[in-house]
């Protein structure tokens, strides 16, 4: 038996354009029962231009883009099972957490947050695993 594997095309060119410029990664890939989303940094979804701001602003933009990508895959923020958040400093984790809590419905997914050095001066990077839509037998 082979499980479905499908690249999810981003709904807007931004995340995809940035990735094509940056390297070889799809924004999201469906594998079996799950959708795996690449680590997203804050970009304009229409152009792929980086949008730098406070940790809170970047978190807001990343999660808006994540929502678009998940919905393009037939999934949603409510179907996310696990999130990994990388922030440029753990001192900023509360600023991220405050915005984050506005996006995910109850009960929230499992999550790990850690501090890491991120590419191109990004302050936040978020990757996640979500349940794919129930369209497969």
């Amino acid at each position: 038996m082979s499980l479905l594997r499908a690249v999810i095309a981003p709904p807007l060119p931004g995340p995809g354009a940035k990735r094509a410029f940056n390297g070889q990664a799809s924004a999201a890939v469906r594998g079996g029962a799950f959708v795996f989303v690449s680590g997203l940094t804050s970009v304009d979804p229409a152009t792929g231009e980086a949008i730098r701001g406070t940790t809170a602003r970047e978190t807001q933009r990343v999660l808006e883009n994540l929502k678009l990508i998940l919905e393009a895959a037939g999934s949603s923020l409510a179907r996310v099972v696990k999130v990994n958040v990388l922030v440029h400093s753990m001192l900023e984790a509360p600023n991220m957490n405050e915005i984050y809590a506005r996006f995910f419905p109850e009960p929230p997914p499992a999550r790990t947050v850690c501090g890491a050095r991120l590419p191109h001066g990004a302050k936040v990077m978020i990757e996640c695993t979500a349940l794919a839509p129930d369209d497969q037998p």
Binding site: P108, A110, T112, A116, L131
Partner: protein, 129 residues
């Protein structure tokens, strides 16, 4: 189906104690995804800072409780991300790690990262349900 695994003991509810907007673990698609585990007292939620060795023992104890509450166990780990504050402690981590993850160990990645509250280790795991 996406099912929340609630904290088997009150100290393991990091949302309640520290406001982290997260569930302790989620069961979905035959797997259990655990939130990042930190060394807290499982009864009170008090942070138990110590050496990497002592912190890792506390974390594995808590992870065992959480996985068993979810109907899984340390023997059913599939993937482990072990974050440590400094990669110089890699061998120290391994000495504790092998006491808990003995046979047919799970896939694992170890890297150094900044961990909340100045902890020395954090485990982020996926287990078979």
């Amino acid at each position: 189906m996406r099912e929340v695994i609630t904290a088997p003991l009150p100290g393991l509810d990091l949302r309640r104690h520290y406001g982290h907007f997260q569930s302790p673990a989620i069961r979905a698609g035959g797997l259990i995804f655990c939130s990042g585990m930190i060394p807290v007292d499982p009864h009170t939620g008090e942070r138990l800072h110590g050496t990497l060795t002592s912190e890792a023992h506390v974390i594995f104890g808590n992870l065992k409780l959480l996985l068993e509450a979810a109907g899984s166990s340390l023997d059913r780990l599939v993937q482990v991300h072990a974050l440590i504050y400094d990669s110089i402690e890699y061998d120290v981590l391994n000495r504790v790690y092998r006491q808990y993850v003995a046979n047919g160990p799970p896939a694992r990645t170890v890297w150094s990262a900044q961990i909340e509250a100045g902890f020395k280790v954090q485990l982020d795991v996926i287990a078979a349900a």
